[in-house]
Every structure is written in structure tokens, then in C-alpha cells.
């Protein structure tokens, strides 16, 4: 099971949570809420997409049968095997999307379910979004089923990677095509069930070839929301079933390509089509550590042979002499946490798990190595033919290895303690500039999602960037081995203590500007241009950067990219950047960023001058004036300061004792900016 992404409470998530809470809370009671949301009562009928496929969607969102199609009832939603029923079907005003609010499910109090079914003109078919919100105080683990009954026995089903009748979709598989039996329709049904880049994969169960159920597991913390997005299309039956044909068949319907049909606010919650499998550094360390041996260290040493044999006792021997690609090292037995022998590899190479967290592999020489089970008989051991030996656990919580500045992981599976070197670990070449990465600044470095070549680094200042190392080797000081140069292809991950204690929530404070870039990348730097040139409806507007609070990309696909610029005084501008690129100072280097790569920029608040602070203080004092006109004037003028005055006003509000001043400050702060 891939690790689940934890939920970060970004402003966007909070907005969606508020919106979901709104529909969850009022949908059953307030008719006008639907109207306010632009929804109208649903009209059910037959939809035809541009590919010529006809669809009949019923009140619960399942597909009804039309003519000779092979589906009798498609994609019925089952939540913990309870069938979804709609309370009051609505649809969007354009008639293209059904919004089906679920009736409460008795076994799952507090769970709100909504189905949204949209007819996609391009590329055709129906896009489903199943929204779940855990409104209870307890965590929930849901089984989300999508059941389809066919009008007769289907012939078979194949994954988009050519696997016949898979029980579980693999990481590279995103859907299945179901081929009709001889007497059925001449079209196949293509179900797209997961994103190509990552996300939860469903299991697939077949019921005597007349039914198929896809099941997802969805974990929801209290107050958490999860979305499962999927798609169904009718396609011509391919003439061949090789991987290429199947991949091309499914490509137009890839969930990633249908992102335009998704509400952007849902995307962070989509469980089955994440942009990437975001493994946390802690989880990554866990996955390569002792846990990977499948034996939990106990109070005594454990010798494992094969799947079943587990002997408990005491290992004995002299120090291990390890000869690895890094050099030679002497390791006393009491520093070992486990030994994974060469039994399975057959080439004599042994992997040693050290108690300080390192994992080192190579040829091993050891004198008097053996295992004494509880009965006292001794078994002589040879590391080269050993399966696994796990030493007794040491008491105490897991801690970051003392003295380690970093742990460097190689593709051979080694995890080596590294000490900070004076030179940067590497220079990461990105499309916009070169980022020097040193151990002191690093949180962690890891491969790109899906093991694609390239790296992603996360720095302590909040920078998160992808790129290629501009070097053939990575220099570092390996504890016990000295200075080493690791060939770039051998480098897998680098962890620092900051990664060990990393929490996903919260971010680095904004200093200068925080620039969000395509691919969930973030740069912390200073915008080098003194002014922003914005082309707004044919008019060129120059705005000093210091007056800008935030820049937000308006639509991902617009060309040229359009932005909304918010000023500190509350004013807004909309338009496209007139310059070819934005200059940004990052780590003392000038980076050039194309406007289309920018998702948004947050600027740090400018420091207020003493004069401005004095003026604000004076206006705040005027809020307590006995003269109503003076109070009103001060209120208006403070409001005109916009965001800049807010920190001061909040501070004043916290200390306010005059109810009139308090009321007026609250009024100013409540003005949306």
C-alpha cells in the first residue's frame, strides 16, 4: 500500500474545507444554498459525448443501460458495502455535471458523501468525483467500491499495461478496458481508475464475468476530506492488445489530462491521482532500515532462515572487517543491529545494519562468527551464506545518529554517515538557475517521483526544487572512510537531521519572496526587478515590487500566463507580465524565470517606516476621540492602509480596553482585502 499523503492546512485547503463544511452542513436543509452555488434540480436524460457515446446517468450516479451497450448498471457507489443513495439530485446550470448529495449512511455517522458526474465533451465519457468528508470526531477507514454489472458475461478485462485480469492495479497502471462478450456491444468500456503519476490503486474483483467491482481504501482523519476521481469511456475494441495499443487507447482519458475537468480546490485531496507519491523522509528512512528485513528486534538476537525459521539466542564473533566501495572498516559486533547475508545474492556480498543508523555493504571477514540458540548448541555462521541475523534491540527511542550531519543513501542500498564538508554537496541545475546545495542548508534530497532520473531537494529555508546535479561526482566526508566522491548515478538520497525532525505542516517564514513554481516547486529569494510590468487590457502598468503583496496565476493553461497582483494597499491588478522573464536572486545568483512557470509569489511585508508607524499610532489614538467625525475619519484612513497596517492593528486590538476602539478595529480588520 503506498504511503498516504498527509494533509497540509494551506489556505487553499482551508478554503476547500470551509466550502465542504458548508455543503455538508447546509445541503440537506437550505434549498437556497444550491441556488447560490449555481446548481439547479437535476434533469435526467441521455447524454451524448463528442465521441458519439451515449450515457444515461441515474439518480444515484450509476450508469443505466442504453440500447445495446454492454453495461446494465455501471459504477454504483458502495461505501463500506452500503449502496450510495442520493438525497436530492442537482446539476450545474450548464447541465453537464450532476451533483448528487448522499443520504447519511447508518453505519458511518458523520460521513458525508457527494458524487459529481460530469459529461466530458473532450475527450468524451463521464468523469466521476466521489467526495468524502469525515465530519465525525473519529478517524475512518472506508472501503469505496464502484460496482458495474454487465448485460452478459464480458470476455475479459486488461489493464492499460496489458495485464490480463489484474487483481490490483500496479503503480504504472491506471485503468482497465473491459471487452464485451460475443453477443454484446461492439464497444468496450474503458475505466480510468488512478492517476499515472501516483495515488491509491484499486483492487479489482470479478463476479463470474458479469460484474466487476473496483475497491479503494480511503483513510480519513476527523475533519478530513478525500476525493476519488475516475472516468469511464466507451471505446472501439482494439484489434491488438499489446501494451502500446492499450496505452494509446487509455491515454486521452488519463486523469492527469482531465485535470481541467476538476475543481482545482479538490486536487490536494484526490487520493487516487496524486501528482506524485510524496514519501516523507522519515518514511523513506524507515523503508530502508531494519524494518525492511521483516523482523522486529526483540530482547534477544534472532537468526532468520527463509520464511519460517526463526531462532532466538545470542550471536557471537570477533569484529567484522568490511571491504566496501568506500574502503575498509572494522566494525565490532556490538555496533551491529543486523546482518543481511549473501544467501540470496550468491555473490558473497553482505549488508550490515549498524546501530548508528548506517547501512554498509561489501565483502565481510569475521572470525568466530556463530549463533547460540537458547538450547546452548552453537551454529557456525558464514556471512556470505547467511540469510538474516537481527541483534537484540537497544533500549531507548530512535534518535538521529550522534555526530552525523547527514546520511547518504546509494542505489546499492548503503546508508553512510556523512560529515559536513566545506564545499557544497552539489550544484543542482534547474531550468531557472543553479542551486548550490550544502549539507548545512539541506533538509533532504531524493529522486523524482516514479524513479525518473533527476533529484528534488528541500532546503531549510523552504526552497523545494528539482534538477540535475551539475557534476559527475558528489563529494562528502564519509564517517570512518574519509573524503569520498560518489558518482552521481550512485547517489539516491541524502537525509539530514532536519529531515529526521521534519514536519510537513508549517513552512519557512517568508523572507524576501516565496516563489511557487510549476511542479510544486518553491524558491525562496528576492525578486531582482525593481518594478513589475503588467500588461492589462493593452495598458502597460508599472508597479514597484515593494508595493506588491502577492501575485497569483489565474489559469494554468492561459497563454500568455495571466496573473492577479494584489497590492499591500488592497488594490488589485490583472494582466500578463510584459517582460520575457522574472529575475530572482537565489543564493546570490540571478535566476531567470519564465512567467508561464510561475504559479504565484508571496512577498514578505515591507518594513514600515517610523513615520508610517507613528501615523498609524496617531490614527489608532483618534479612534478614541470624543469627536465622532474624528473617529470616522481615522477609521477610514486606517482602512486605506490595507494589509500594511494589519499587524499593528491586531496588536492594538489585543490590548484595546475602549469598547469603541475595539469595535472600530474589529471593523477595519474584518474588511476583506
Amino acid at each position: 500500500m503506498p504511503p498516504r499523503r498527509s494533509i497540509r492546512l494551506s489556505p487553499r485547503r482551508l478554503r476547500l474545507l470551509a466550502a465542504l463544511a458548508a455543503w455538508c452542513g447546509v445541503v440537506a436543509t437550505a434549498e437556497e444554498t444550491f441556488d447560490a452555488a449555481g446548481l439547479v434540480p437535476a434533469a435526467f436524460g441521455i447524454w451524448t459525448d463528442r465521441a458519439g457515446s451515449s450515457w444515461s446517468v441515474e439518480a444515484a450516479g450509476n450508469i443505466g443501460r442504453i440500447g445495446s451497450t454492454m453495461v446494465n448498471s455501471g459504477l454504483a457507489l458502495l461505501v463500506d458495502e452500503e449502496r450510495f443513495a442520493s438525497y436530492r439530485p442537482m446539476m450545474t446550470a450548464d447541465g453537464k455535471e450532476l451533483v448528487l448529495q448522499g443520504l447519511p449512511l447508518d453505519p458511518l455517522p458523520g460521513l458525508q458523501v457527494q458524487r459529481r458526474v460530469r459529461l466530458l465533451d473532450e475527450p468524451g465519457g463521464l468523469r466521476y468525483a466521489e467526495l468524502f468528508h469525515n465530519g465525525s470526531a473519529d478517524p475512518m477507514t472506508l472501503s469505496v467500491g464502484l460496482a458495474t454489472n454487465f448485460s452478459g458475461n464480458f470476455k475479459t478485462f486488461l489493464s492499460d499495461r496489458g495485464r490480463s485480469e489484474p487483481l490490483l492495479l500496479g503503480p504504472s497502471e491506471s485503468g482497465v478496458v473491459v471487452l464485451p462478450g460475443a453477443s454484446q456491444s461492439s464497444r468496450a468500456f474503458l475505466f480510468t481508475l488512478a492517476g499515472t503519476a501516483g495515488g491509491e490503486r484499486p483492487t479489482v474483483s470479478s463476479q463470474n464475468r458479469y460484474g466487476l467491482t473496483f475497491r479503494y481504501r480511503l483513510d480519513l482523519a476527523p475533519g478530513e476530506t478525500g476525493v476519488i476521481v475516475h472516468h469511464v469511456a466507451q471505446v472501439a475494441i482494439p484489434q491488438t492488445f499489446d501494451r502500446g495499443t492499450l496505452q494509446r487507447l487509455g491515454a486521452p482519458y488519463a486523469l492527469d489530462r482531465l485535470s481541467g475537468a476538476l475543481d482545482p480546490d479538490w486536487r490536494p485531496f484526490v487520493a487516487n491521482a496524486s501528482e506524485s507519491v510524496d514519501l516523507s523522509p522519515q518514511a523513506a528512512l524507515e523503508s530502508i532500515g531494519l524494518a525492511s528485513l521483516g523482523i522486529v528486534p526483540g530482547t534477544a538476537d534472532t537468526l532468520a532462515i527463509g520464511e519460517g525459521t526463526r531462532l532466538v539466542g545470542r550471536a557471537e564473533g570477533e569484529s567484522f572487517t568490511l571491504t566496501s566501495s568506500l574502503g575498509e572498516m572494522n566494525i565490532p559486533l556490538d555496533q551491529l543491529a543486523a546482518v543481511s547475508g549473501g544467501k540470496h545474492r550468491g555473490d558473497g556480498r553482505v549488508r550490515l545494519y549498524l546501530r548508528d543508523g548506517q547501512i554498509l555493504s561489501g565483502k565481510v571477514a569475521v572470525e568466530g562468527f556463530g549463533f547460540v540458540p537458547a538450547n546452548g548448541s552453537r551454529i557456525a555462521l558464514d556471512p556470505a551464506t547467511l540469510d538474516r541475523l537481527v541483534f537484540a534491540a537497544t533500549p531507548g527511542a530512535k534518535v538521529w545518529p550522534a555526530g552525523a550531519d547527514a546520511l547518504v543513501e546509494t542505489h546499492e542500498g548503503d546508508l553512510v554517515r556523512a560529515e559536513a564538508a566545506t564545499a557544497p554537496l552539489l550544484n543542482l541545475a534547474t531550468p531557472w538557475g543553479v542551486l548550490p546545495v550544502s549539507l548545512k542548508d539541506l533538509v533532504w534530497l531524493h529522486p523524482l517521483p516514479g524513479d525518473a532520473p533527476g533529484y528534488r531537494v528541500e532546503l531549510k529555508d523552504g526552497t523545494r526544487c528539482e534538477g540535475h546535479p551539475d557534476a559527475e561526482t558528489v563529494p562528502f566526508v564519509a564517517a570512518g572512510f574519509g573524503e569520498k566522491a560518489l558518482p552521481v548515478p550512485h547517489l539516491k538520497r541524502v537525509f539530514t537531521q532536519a529531515a529526521w525532525s521534519r514536519r510537513e505542516e508549517g513552512g519557512a517564514p517568508v523572507v524576501g519572496a516565496s516563489i511557487r513554481l510549476a511542479g510544486d516547486q518553491i524558491l525562496q529569494g528576492r525578486v531582482g526587478d525593481a518594478t513589475l510590468s503588467l500588461l492589462s487590457e493593452g495598458t502597460l502598468l508599472e508597479t514597484p515590487m515593494v508595493e506588491i503583496r502577492r501575485i497569483e496565476r489565474l489559469a494554468e493553461t492561459a497563454s500568455p500566463a495571466r496573473f492577479r497582483v494584489e497590492r499591500w494597499d488592497g488594490g488589485t491588478l490583472v494582466g500578463s507580465l510584459s517582460r520575457d522573464f522574472l529575475s530572482v536572486q537565489v543564493a546570490d545568483q540571478a535566476w531567470r524565470i519564465l512567467p508561464r512557470d510561475i504559479a504565484g509569489i508571496e512577498f514578505a511585508p515591507p518594513e514600515l517606516t517610523a513615520e508610517t508607524i507613528a501615523r498609524i499610532d496617531s490614527l489608532v489614538a483618534n479612534l478614541a476621540s470624543p469627536d465622532w467625525t474624528t473617529r470616522e475619519k481615522a477609521t477610514r484612513e486606517l482602512g486605506a492602509f490595507g494589509y500594511l497596517a494589519r499587524p499593528v492593528l491586531r496588536r492594538e486590538l489585543a490590548g484595546a480596553t475602549d469598547p469603541e476602539v475595539e469595535r472600530r478595529l474589529e471593523r477595519i480588520l474584518s474588511i476583506p482585502q
Binding site: 436524460g45 441521455i46 451524448t48 463528442r50 465521441a51 458519439g52 451515449s54 475527450p123 489493464s159 496489458g162 490490483l168 500496479g170 503503480p171 504504472s172 461492439s186 464497444r187 490503486r201 472501439a236 499489446d242 501494451r243 496505452q247 494509446r248 491515454a251 492527469d256 540470496h344 545474492r345 550468491g346 542505489h411 541545475a429 531550468p431 531557472w432 543553479v434 523524482l448 524513479d451 525518473a452 532520473p453 533527476g454 528539482e466 534538477g467 540535475h468 546535479p469 551539475d470 557534476a471 559527475e472 558518482p487 552521481v488 548515478p489 510549476a518 511542479g519 510544486d520 500588461l535 487590457e537 493593452g538 510584459s578 520575457d580 522573464f581 531567470r592 524565470i593 519564465l594 508561464r596
Partner: protein, 637 residues
């Protein structure tokens, strides 16, 4: 029938060959350099291949040339050809299948009767979503013949209504008659039937013979009837487009026809201009005058991208394009020069006659882009010279205001698409400029590949493109088929242009590079390939690996053997026996690979070495095995 049609008298045996060749000349004018035209088939299949167009509609041709809506039961038999009461019964066929490397998907059929040769040429235009049906009749006899040509279309279900152009309902009583303004007929089904509509384009406001229409009482059969006079030794033809559409309202048909008919002219009907005069149902004026073979126009990559996006086509006259439904024909004064100044190149003077199109500011402040006929694009301000426009049938000319102008499309010309001398590549920048560059044979380019910095000769580069989206990088395609993401070093590239200058280009602005006269390969659809079978044509080398993230690296296995483990069993496989390696897609065994050896042997196991070492011209390349999805070796001939 036009009496000005040329008169040829040729032996009968000539026509059998000429019909197929004529088709080549007509449709295959668009063949990409070096690609073969339709291949003659040894025997006629009952049904030809199925084609799905870009709007999703399915098409298929029967052995008698009738059109089907593929496996869908919507269009049972479209434009079934019957000549003088006898169904078309071809005996010779040629076809260019989808994926066969030809640019166009074509089926050609031919029947020879005493004194008459009949051919049908079907062009499946997937991009515009329609099928062009061209029926040609060659009188191989000694006297003029009058042919009764019937095109019969049948449906398995009754239609709801028939519509003329613009959506007006055509009544069947007392007889079904096309109105003078009708150039098309729409067959509309009830939305509750869930069947899409069919539209037949048969005419033009410029003139031509209109068909007599007939519809069966059960609303399932539709007939277009023509009487075609064919003088002895000459040929005449009929051309139609068939479209499948699902329009919210039938009255929106004109918008659907826009890619096919503009200003009364049939845009790119896939016919040789020599054939225009022989088309019975369209006047020669219904075809835009064009002086350039379409193949050459396609090398104007940047301009084509713009016109495709706007849905307009260049033709034999200048056009002032104001919007999707507003275009004025006229002429741009070709005299003189203009000077375009950009901050990269400085001022560049160009003759107006060398301009293929001009995109103005459209009142939005967008910088002017001047598209030259040689493929270059100059962006910036026009600092010297003016462009004068004369509207047809209007007195005098006016100076074009480039700040408010949308687009001027100049008439096509023979020099279109001919790259400047010495050009080895075109380089496009993010601001829309396109430079014709000519780095010398020894010139090199640096980039940072996933495995480190590389220096490569420009000459080895075929294409690159800056990918936007989730992970913006530059994806390169080299002449050996390698294609992977690189990062260009920051700073500026000094690029020698074809006109002998050196231009400094910020690496951050580099957008795309391509080779003249080569089709673009990197505009392939996204999707994660996990096997070479999924890699689009033209990418990937005969020998090499496919890495996660759609990276392809040319090379051969460096080690003499590879050690594999299958459970407790260890095997050693000689590298020279390995024909392919494919990673398992089984989620339970992600580290396993299937090895296919010479002679068909197959082995499955986990390689022991965590790296795959590839021999490349620049030296061995070590690749982490976790990145490797597949390997293939070129098969010996």
C-alpha cells in the same frame, strides 16, 4: 460542366496507372519528405482499418468505398457510389494506414469498366475530423458520356430531420430540395437516440453542380444524384466531405464547417490543383488558389502553430484576419522593407515580400511578430517602414496599425518553407522569435543531463523543446534517437545565425529547436511509457534503454553478462544474447525483469547489479536499475 477543361487523349492502359498516380499527386502532395504514399494492396479487404479522428469519431471504409462509422452503428453505409445503376465494384486498392508513417490516412479504390475508369479516394482527416470523398470518372472511350451518379447513404435507424446549411429544416414534401444557399446537408437524430449527426458538404457559394436529393419515406435512406458529363478522354470528379458531429444545435453547423470551408472556398481538400477544374460539383473558384505544394508550407512550424490555433488557413490571396468569423481579403503592398527591432537581435530589415504573416498587438499590447516565408519569426517593434493594405473592391490603401491589428496572412508563394541558406536548425525563443541558425560542424552545446554535464555537437541534435507543466525542463532528441530531459546551463548561448551573425540568447528563453525539412517528433502526447512499444514513432534508438519519465538513451549493454536471481537460483545471461529486457508491471514484483533472448528464450528474474551499464559513444554510462524500464537491441537484418 465547364467547357474549359483540358482535353487529353491517352491510351486506355494509361488511365489505370494514372488513376492511382493521380491520387498520389492529389493527396500525397502532403506527404512528408521521404514517407511513402499509399501502398497498393494485393487484395481488397472486406473492411479497411478503423480510424478514430481527433474528435473521437470512428470511421471505416468498406471494400466498395462506402463509409461506416467504424464499430458504432450510426452510419451504416455512407456515400455508397452507384454509377449508371451499377454499384461501384473496385478491383484495385491502395491504402496508407494509420501509424504506417504516411502523413495522411488514405484509401484509394479503382474500378475499370468498358470505356470508363472509376476511382474513389478517401482521405481520413483526423485533425479536422472528417472524411473527404473524391470520386473520379475517366472516360476512356471515344465519345462523351453522361453518367448518372448516385451517392446513397443508409442508416440503421430513422433520422429525425434533415437540415440545410445554417440549420434550416428541409422538408420532404413535395420533394426534398436543397435551397440555393445550401452547400451542405445535415442528418439529425433525436438526442434521445444517442446517435450523432452526419453532415455532408457538397457545394460552395462559388458555384458548381448541386445534387438532386432524395430521401426514403422511412427516413433511413438518403440519395445525392448527379449527372456528370465526361468528354472522351477526359476526367470529371465529385468531391464531398462527410463529418460526424454532435452539435448542441444543428444551426451551429457553419462553425463546424469553418475548418473546411472559408469564404466560399474549400480549404485543403487534398486535391491536386490540376484537378480543380474537373470537379463537377464545385466551380474552380471554390478552391483557393495556391502556388505552393502543401509539404513546403508545413516547414513554417511557428506560423502553422498559430494558424492551427486560430483555425485559419493561408491561401492564394492576402487575408486580414479580424476574428473567427471576420476576415477581409485584399492585398498587402509588397514593395519596400520594414525593420523589426528586438532586444536580442537588434534591428533586422526584411522585405515585405518575404513576409508570410504578421501578428499584431490586437489592442492588447502583444508584441508584433513577423513570420517570414523562410521560417524565421521576428518579434519586437517595427521601427522603420510601414505595411500598406488594400481591400479588394475598395479604393486606395491604408497603413496598417500594428498595435491594433490581429493577423495578416499573406498569400502562399513558391518560396514558402525554403529555409535560409546554410540553416541547420531553427531555434524558437519564449517570446516567439524564431532564428535560423547555422552552428558550424565543430560547434558544440553544453547541457546537464541526469548523469552530469555533457558537451554535444549541434550537428547531433535533431530537436528539443522546453516542456512546461509539472517539471519544466528541456527535452532533447538527438539523431541517434536518444530523448531525455536536460537543463541548459544558465547564462547565454552564443548562436551563429544563418545570416552570419552571432546572437546571444539567454538559455532561460530557449523554447524549441528543430531541423528544417524534418517532421516534429517531440510534440507527442504525454503519458508514461513503460515499454518501447509505447514510444511514438521517430523517437528512440534501435539499441538503448527506456528510463522512467520517458527518457530514452541510445547504447548497448556494456557488461559481457548480467547476473540474475530468481528466488534462490542465480543465473548468468550473456549480454550479446539479450534482445530485450522489460520490467514487470506486477505490483508484487516490481524489481523483476523479463529477458528475451535470441531464439525466443525467455527468462524472468531480478538483476543482482543495482546498475545497468550502457556503452555510448561518449563512454560507458552507469544507470541505476530502479530507473530502467526496458532495454532493446537492434535486431540483425
Amino acid at each position: 460542366m465547364s467547357s474549359s477543361a483540358p482535353v487529353f487523349r491517352l491510351p486506355r492502359s494509361f488511365w489505370a496507372i494514372a488513376l492511382i498516380l493521380a491520387g498520389d499527386a492529389g493527396s500525397a502532395g502532403g506527404q512528408e519528405g521521404g514517407n511513402a504514399g499509399p501502398a497498393r494492396l494485393a487484395e481488397l479487404p472486406e473492411r479497411f482499418f478503423q480510424v478514430q479522428d481527433e474528435a473521437g469519431f470512428l470511421w471505416q471504409a468498406l471494400d466498395n468505398g462506402a463509409l461506416l462509422s467504424g464499430d458504432t452503428q450510426y452510419l451504416q453505409s455512407g456515400l455508397n457510389l452507384i454509377v449508371d445503376g451499377e454499384p461501384f465494384a473496385p478491383s484495385v486498392a491502395a491504402a496508407s494506414e494509420p501509424g504506417a508513417g504516411g502523413e495522411r490516412i488514405v484509401v484509394r479504390l479503382e474500378e475499370t469498366r468498358p470505356g470508363l475508369s472509376i476511382s474513389r479516394d478517401l482521405w481520413f482527416d483526423t485533425r479536422r475530423s472528417g472524411v473527404r470523398v473524391w470520386d473520379a470518372f475517366v472516360n476512356t472511350g471515344d465519345t462523351e458520356v453522361s453518367l448518372e451518379v448516385v451517392l446513397r447513404t443508409t442508416y440503421p435507424f430513422a433520422w429525425q430531420s434533415l437540415h440545410g446549411t445554417g440549420g434550416g429544416v428541409l422538408g420532404a414534401e413535395p420533394g426534398l430540395v436543397a435551397r440555393p444557399e445550401d452547400i451542405s446537408l445535415g442528418v439529425h437524430f433525436s438526442p434521445s437516440d444517442g446517435r450523432h449527426d452526419t453532415f455532408f458538404l457538397f457545394g460552395s457559394e462559388k458555384g458548381g453542380q448541386k445534387p438532386d436529393l432524395k430521401a426514403s419515406a422511412n427516413s433511413r435512406e438518403l440519395i445525392f444524384a448527379y449527372t456528370v458529363q465526361v468528354p472522351a478522354g477526359q476526367s470529371r470528379s465529385l468531391v464531398h466531405w462527410v463529418l460526424q458531429r454532435n452539435l448542441p444545435e444543428v444551426s451551429q453547423d457553419l462553425a463546424a464547417f469553418a475548418p473546411f470551408v472559408q469564404r466560399g472556398q474549400w480549404i485543403d481538400a487534398g486535391l491536386d490543383p490540376k484537378a480543380f477544374a474537373q470537379v463537377a460539383n464545385l466551380a474552380p473558384e471554390a478552391f483557393p488558389a495556391t502556388t505552393v505544394p502543401p509539404a513546403r508550407l508545413r516547414w513554417l512550424v511557428a506560423l502553422n502553430e498559430l494558424t492551427d490555433r486560430l483555425g485559419v488557413s493561408r491561401r492564394g490571396e492576402d487575408l486580414l484576419w479580424l476574428g473567427p468569423s471576420n476576415a477581409i481579403s485584399g492585398s498587402l503592398d509588397r514593395e519596400g522593407t520594414i525593420t523589426v527591432e528586438s532586444h536580442l537581435r537588434g534591428p533586422t530589415e526584411t522585405p515585405v515580400a518575404a513576409i508570410a504573416a504578421i501578428r499584431g498587438g490586437a489592442g492588447q499590447g502583444t508584441p508584433t511578430a513577423v513570420y517570414l516565408r523562410d521560417g524565421r519569426v521576428l518579434t519586437g517593434d517595427v521601427v522603420k517602414g510601414a505595411l500598406r493594405w488594400t481591400t479588394k473592391e475598395a479604393p486606395g490603401s491604408e497603413v496598417l496599425d500594428l498595435a491594433s491589428l490581429h493577423l495578416v496572412l499573406c498569400a502562399t508563394a513558391p518560396e514558402d518553407g525554403a529555409a535560409p541558406a546554410n540553416t541547420t536548425h531553427f531555434l524558437q525563443l519564449a517570446n516567439g522569435s524564431v532564428l535560423a541558425i547555422a552552428p558550424g560542424g565543430a560547434a558544440t552545446l553544453d547541457w546537464i543531463a541526469p548523469w552530469g554535464r555533457e558537451t554535444v555537437p549541434w550537428a547531433s541534435l535533431r530537436e528539443f523543446v522546453r516542456e512546461s507543466g509539472a517539471s519544466p525542463k528541456v527535452r532533447i532528441l538527438t539523431k541517434d534517437g536518444s530523448s531525455f530531459a536536460v537543463v541548459l546551463p544558465p547564462g547565454a548561448l552564443t548562436v551563429p545565425t544563418a545570416d552570419g551573425r552571432n546572437v546571444e540568447v539567454p538559455a532561460a528563453l530557449v523554447e524549441r529547436l528543430w531541423t528544417p525539412d524534418e517532421p516534429l517528433r517531440l510534440a507527442f502526447p504525454k503519458g508514461d511509457w513503460i515499454d518501447f512499444s509505447e514510444v511514438p514513432e521517430g523517437i528512440g534508438s534501435a539499441d538503448g534503454v527506456l528510463l522512467a519519465g520517458n527518457h530514452l538513451v541510445a547504447g548497448t549493454l556494456a557488461p559481457a553478462s548480467i547476473a540474475l536471481r530468481d528466488g534462490a537460483t542465480r543465473m548468468q545471461v550473456q549480454s550479446d544474447r539479450i534482445e530485450s529486457i522489460v520490467r514487470s508491471v506486477d505490483p508484487e514484483a516490481p524489481g523483476r525483469f523479463l529477458f528475451v533472448l535470441g531464439g525466443g528464450e525467455r527468462l524472468s528474474g531480478e538483476p543482482l547489479d543495482p546498475y545497468l551499464v550502457l556503452d555510448r559513444p561518449g563512454g560507458p554510462l552507469e544507470l541505476p536499475l530502479v530507473q530502467v524500464l526496458a532495454y532493446r537491441k537492434a535486431l540483425s537484418p
